[in-house]
């Protein structure tokens, strides 16, 4: 912490580091952001975790959470505000951190802040003809359900702004595809896009030349809805972000609120939450494995994955009362204690799953067709992974150690022994096969964690009494958790009311999708599908 403060004093001289915050925070003027960001990047802060837009009512602003791939536990927060609300502009950092590209588009879409020199200021989630910016506090436009499809022009014209010598804004625009390119639409409704992602792919025969993901076909505005809900009411929505790691998301939000409100959760609840998190991770990876096999044409493998996943669903149903959405964690603990035979069921499942994984390896991993399709396809180097912020198994397959369970242990993760599954950085190329195999390895590691937790389940209660109306003290809170797809983050800005002022979920999937274009360039159509499956993104998580 002290080191980072010293560093901040060096990169931003004369700026005061705010006291009493979770992470070292400095507030900057808009024109200072780029200089500080560049210096931070040079000092090793190469991973932009999150970029949040906030409406401060008098002005609009952004909050940057920045971490490093070398000094993994360090996090710094930068904040900035626009001059006014009418013509809000900020400077882009997308050339410094590649992952800011999509985040800045998102901020533009929600708040209307335009970023100078950002190459692509299209709306990301909402339609091009949407009126207003919904996340502003004074938003009251009424947009009816449209009857016509999205206008192709609004998808293919990239507007951008830049400053001339006198500091005046100049508007520019560029075409996404050339006139003679053979552009094929994948999605929004397509079996291989894992949801409703719209990919515009430029082809040269079978070779992919360019991929342009078009988001927003499942943008539900959860973050905006959260601003009018109380904290317990937000919980069910967190599960519906990335429904495959629903428990983990819910756990993260509970932790964030508990930390802010100073609620101490009993050990037993912590353990059970972790077991559920890991079971969710196993279920998610099984589905990911199955979907990858199905996308490659092996439907039988998919069915086997689903068959074993049902066993986890049974455990969820028996204890929590829901299958896909267990709704088990609540603020202050769990809804109910587990059923008496829980430990037995879980240890049976662990034993069964270990055998199944061997079967999967014989059925699919050893298959020369499958390996041939995955090896040497979609290379993602460690540098690109960090720059794009592709956390989770995808990043670890490229050799980037980024497991939040290790670097910022939460709940019961500091009480178990486990290895962060990493592909060997020397031999590893970070191709589709690495991303595939790491998931099965992670399942085995998760089974280890489950076994340890399950054998040492404490016997204190599962919840503590919390006030009927949860209110967080004024301030900003951030909580990271390792979801099945990577670094999931919850940002809450509270103004002391029972409703949060601003909630932002750091979606691991959005950065994964942004990796599609660099990974697929020069590969074949079939590889586009394999790479997409190996990234294992969930669109509703990206769109929120």
């Amino acid at each position: 912490m002290e080191d980072i403060k010293k560093l901040l004093a060096k990169v931003a001289p004369g700026k005061e580091v705010a006291e009493g915050t979770q992470y070292p925070t400095i507030e900057l003027e808009p024109n200072e952001v780029r200089a500080v960001a560049k210096k931070l990047k040079e000092a090793g802060f190469d991973y932009l975790i999150n970029l949040t837009g906030v409406d401060y009512t008098d002005a609009l602003g952004t909050v940057y959470h920045i971490s490093s791939s070398t000094n993994k536990t360090a996090v710094v927060v930068l904040k900035t505000k626009t001059a006014d609300r009418e013509e809000p502009v900020l400077y882009t950092v997308s050339d410094i951190w590649k992952s800011a590209d999509l985040y800045e588009r998102e901020v533009y879409d929600f708040f209307g802040i335009r970023f100078i020199d950002h190459p692509d200021m299209r709306r990301i989630f909402l339609r091009g003809d949407w009126k207003g910016f919904p996340f502003r506090k004074d938003y009251n436009e009424v947009n009816d359900t449209p009857t016509t499809n999205v206008n192709i022009d609004s998808l293919e014209t990239l507007p951008s702004i830049t400053l001339d010598k006198e500091g005046k804004i100049i508007e520019k625009s560029k075409q996404l595809f050339g006139n003679n390119e053979y552009v094929v639409n994948f999605g929004p409704q397509h079996p291989a896009t894992h949801g409703v992602l719209h990919l515009r792919v430029s082809l040269d025969g079978e070779i992919v030349k360019k991929v342009d993901p078009n988001f927003g076909y499942i943008h539900r505005g959860i973050e905006k809805m959260c601003e009018s809900l109380t904290y317990p009411q937000i919980l069910p929505y967190t599960e519906r972000l990335d429904y495959l790691s629903g428990s983990i998301n819910r756990h993260a939000f509970c932790m964030c609120v508990e930390k802010a409100a100073g609620i101490e959760v009993p050990q037993r609840a912590q353990y059970i939450r972790c077991i559920f998190d890991e079971l969710t991770r196993v279920a998610s990876h099984l589905l990911g494995w199955g979907c990858m096999a199905m996308d490659m044409g092996a439907i039988t493998a998919f069915i086997y994955g689903m068959r074993d996943r049902e066993k986890i669903m049974d455990i969820f149903e028996e204890n929590a009362g829901g299958r896909l959405m267990p709704a088990y964690s609540i603020i202050g603990g769990l809804t109910k204690d587990v059923v008496p035979n829980f430990q037995q069921t879980v240890s049976d499942f662990v034993a069964y799953m270990r055998e199944s994984i061997k079967e999967y390896h014989t059925l699919f991993t050893g298959n020369p067709i499958a390996t041939g399709r995955m090896h040497n396809v979609g290379w993602l180097t460690k540098e690109t992974a960090v720059a794009l912020g592709t956390t989770g198994p995808t990043g670890r397959a490229s050799g980037w150690s980024n497991d939040v369970r290790k670097l910022a242990p939460y709940a019961a993760y500091d009480k178990v022994k486990f290895n962060e599954v990493l592909r060997n950085t020397d031999t590893c190329k970070g191709d589709s096969f690495d991303r595939y195999i790491i998931r099965l390895d992670e399942v085995l590691e998760s089974l280890n964690i489950i076994e340890q937790l399950n054998d040492n389940l404490p016997t204190d209660g599962v919840n503590v009494k919390v006030p009927a109306i949860v209110k967080l003290p004024e301030g900003e809170y951030y909580q990271r958790a390792e979801s099945a797809r990577g670094d999931f983050g919850v940002y809450i800005k509270s103004d002391g009311n029972k409703n949060p002022y601003r909630v932002k979920f750091r979606s691991p999937c959005m950065t994964l999708i942004s990796a599609l274009d660099p990974l697929c360039k020069g590969e074949k159509i079939a590889d586009l599908i394999t790479i997409g499956a190996s990234l294992d993104y969930v669109i509703p998580c990206a769109d929120r």
Partner: protein
């Protein structure tokens, strides 16, 4: 039974020739035989659809259709009724003639091949002196239909699917032919009846070790020609949604669907006829008692039984493996199967010269 069938057919023939003029007789007979073949064709398709669904379900530890009729056997009838009464959507901005002709070309191609098969002792449509050559030739007609379907649908997915299909079928046709040529060398004839006769004592696979190589190559190539997984690139559900027939609905799609299953049968049947002795019973030279027992089993059961085994094998492969990528597919054909089959022909010729 096949002999009784032939008897019956002869009786009808005499009945007709006694009463009607000869030209009319042949005309009526052509129509009758054609109808018979069409019925058999449809029945085989229906059977195979339910067979595959059940088998695939068991491979995936499911049950498969079991609610329509006992064990779900009427499931395909329901499918047929549904698909016959389904709307055919006319498209704008496409080549109407080719669009509607394509499914017919596909089904004609497979029917023509079907006519050249032998189903039991003495039960066949025609017996060409170049039977094997004929089968190979007409079975590649359907690819024209596939290409036309992909082209005329005016859809990018179907166009890519059709182009893939073209590349795939044409290259695998080569291996299929070459592997059969090895058998032609061994059997010394292209006439299917002559080949059958040559297998009376022992099936070709028991006559030479190189027949096994040819059989494996043929099975892979034939499987690839049917456009079924792991060679279903032209359809590639997860990439091209439905490939070349993405725009077809109702019975026009039904034709593609039926032709796919019949091609599965046809390829297995050709494999049986050429490699596994067709309708010939399993004979072990010198074992008279055993041979007599085997002969007691009717020839059509031999034929269909062996075909079914090959079909089962093909289903097993289909429901286990992932799909190949286009470069893997071409690598498999041009760098592995083609050299192997060429070498195989050479070795087979040497074998025939020295050991036969």
């Amino acid at each position: 039974m096949s002999l009784e069938l032939i008897d019956g057919i002869n009786k009808i023939h005499t009945l007709l020739t006694d009463n009607i003029e000869a030209t009319w007789v042949s005309l009526i007979e052509y129509v009758l035989v054609g109808l018979g073949f069409l019925t058999l064709y449809a029945l085989i398709a229906l059977f195979l659809i339910i067979f595959e669904r059940k088998i695939c379900a068991y491979f995936q530890c499911r049950l498969g259709p079991n609610r329509v009729g006992p064990w779900g056997i009427f499931q395909v009838i329901a499918d047929m009724v549904k698909i016959l009464t389904k709307e055919i959507i006319p498209l704008k901005h496409n080549d109407k003639l080719l669009y509607y002709a394509a499914p017919f070309i596909v089904i004609m191609g497979s029917l023509l091949t079907f006519g050249g098969l032998q189903f039991a002792e003495g039960v066949y449509g025609v017996d060409f002196n170049v039977g094997v050559f004929y089968l190979l030739a007409v079975s590649s007609i359907s690819i024209i239909g596939v290409m036309l379907a992909g082209w005329s649908s005016n859809n990018k997915y179907s166009l890519i699917g059709a182009m893939r299909s073209g590349a795939q079928v044409i290259s695998f046709e080569l291996s299929a032919c070459l592997s059969m040529m090895a058998i032609v060398i061994l059997g010394g004839s292209m006439n299917l009846s002559a080949l059958m006769a040559a297998q009376e004592d022992a099936w070709f696979i028991f006559q030479s070790p190189f027949t096994w190589v040819a059989l494996v190559i043929y099975l892979i190539a034939a499987h690839a020609e049917t456009n079924r997984g792991p060679f279903d690139l032209p359809e590639a559900e997860s990439e091209l949604t439905a490939g070349y027939h993405v725009e077809y609905s109702g019975i026009t799609f039904g034709f593609f669907y039926v032709a796919e299953y019949c091609n599965l049968f046809i390829n297995a049947a050709i494999g049986t006829l050429v490699f596994l002795g067709g309708w010939q019973a399993l004979h072990i030279p010198g074992c008279e008692g055993f041979n007599a027992v085997m002969d007691a089993i009717p020839s059509y059961i031999w034929m269909f039984g062996k075909t079914l085994v090959l079909i089962f094998l093909s289903l097993w492969v289909r429901w286990t493996f992932p799909r190949l990528r286009i470069d893997q597919l071409l690598h498999l054909e041009w760098k592995i199967m083609l050299p192997f089959s060429l070498a195989n022909i050479l070795l087979m010729a040497i074998w025939v010269i020295y050991f036969k």
